[in-house]
């Protein structure tokens, strides 16, 4: 049985947090992950407060285990979503795309455990100072919006300055990745892409099919020119976007090209026009499984690896 201080802090069984994937991570997936002993997250993305409230209630009706909400700080609805999680007294909030300092006081007052996603050492220092209870160090192997640094170099450097528990993210899809995360100094892993294959994940069947068929080199990063690069599966859409990015197309037109593309992938399975976000670990996702089984399998695989680590030392 793996031991981690994050499990004690959050009251979860396994040191695995599900990524708060926008348009993908709804109350049903979050509940399945939490019921399976990990920490499920509802991805608020750009959704309004009412949708988030509804999903929190869906999750709460399906499990009595703790779960959380991921809040994208650049969302047009961020203020109302920030209020909803406080009103609903969600156990955990993770945040992306910035520093959540302005909401920290109200979340703390509601007893929420706040875990910002950090892509650098400086951001770690700023969010910890603002009161973060833990941080997620997310490397650029991950899907969706990505930073420049890899998990391998980001996690230890974040651990050096954080002073709070660090959760590793980006490129982790099996027990080997989880064991490595512990070695880098993290006390848990956040996993997104592997949960795309969970039975309880409601993405379009074609999206799942494409993830299961993905190889090691199946993803591409686009949008660097716009300042917020995104990793997705190589598809007609992402290839066209990549081409447009290096053409004379204006930033505004390029930005407009991406609007709505994720929803087309998730809901319609539109391979031509959809943006199928995925991390580099897509090549390691081989079968559809219940979320609980994914969690158990990853932890059971990590255990002997960690126990066997002594073999490297004489």
């Amino acid at each position: 049985m793996l031991k981690s201080k994050l499990c004690q802090l959050l009251g979860i069984e396994y040191p695995i947090i599900q990524g708060g994937m926008a348009h993908v991570a709804d109350g049903k997936l979050a509940a399945a992950v939490s019921a399976g002993g990990g920490l499920g997250l509802i991805g608020a993305g750009n959704a309004p407060g009412d949708w988030v409230r509804e999903q929190i209630r869906v999750a709460a009706s399906l499990t009595d285990k703790p779960f959380g909400v991921n809040i994208m700080l650049l969302s047009p609805f961020v203020k109302e979503v920030a209020q909803v999680v406080a009103e609903e007294k969600v156990r955990v909030v993770t945040t992306g795309a910035g520093n959540p300092s302005r909401y920290m006081e109200s979340w703390k007052a509601a007893g929420i455990f706040v875990i910002p996603v950090v892509p650098s050492v400086s951001m770690t220092k700023l969010v910890v100072r603002a009161g973060a209870d833990a941080v997620i160090a997310e490397g650029g192997e991950s899907g969706g919006h990505v930073g420049e640094l890899t998990t391998m170099v980001l996690v230890p450097q974040v651990c050096d300055v954080a002073g709070v528990p660090v959760i590793a993210a980006g490129g982790i899809a099996d027990g080997r990745g989880l064991a490595a995360a512990f070695m880098l100094g993290a006390c848990a892993a956040q996993i997104g892409t592997r949960f795309l294959s969970a039975y309880e994940c409601g993405i379009h069947p074609l999206y799942k099919e494409k993830i299961l068929a993905a190889t090691d080199i199946a993803t591409i990063t686009t949008g660097k020119r716009l300042g917020h690069p995104v990793r997705s599966l190589k598809s007609p859409f992402s290839r066209a976007f990549y081409k447009a990015e290096y053409s004379d197309m204006s930033d505004e037109d390029l930005e407009a090209m991406g609007v709505g593309a994720l929803a087309l992938a998730v809901r319609e399975g539109d391979w031509q026009r959809g943006s199928f976000l995925a991390g580099q670990s897509a090549g390691m996702v081989k079968k559809e499984q219940p979320a609980a089984e994914i969690i158990r399998e990853i932890c059971e695989e990590a255990e002997p690896l960690l126990k066997g680590a002594g073999a490297w030392v004489e």
Partner: protein, 74 residues
Amino acid sequence: MVFDAIKKLIVEFNDSDPDAITLETTFKDLGIDSLDTAELLINLEETVGKEIELDEEVTTVGDLVAFVEKKLKE
């Protein structure tokens, strides 16, 4: 004063031409993104000896100067 300190940090940070940095210059023009801003801020705190909680959007160097001056008066 604050402008000079920020200008110096930017020049040290990415070798920008000091003469090209004015109050109107945007961070985007200087090739400085939000992550770079976080690092600049930490360095700036060391220079001015005070914690600065950046809770406003800053687009230009002038925005940051005005923000820091306001915080230093608090």
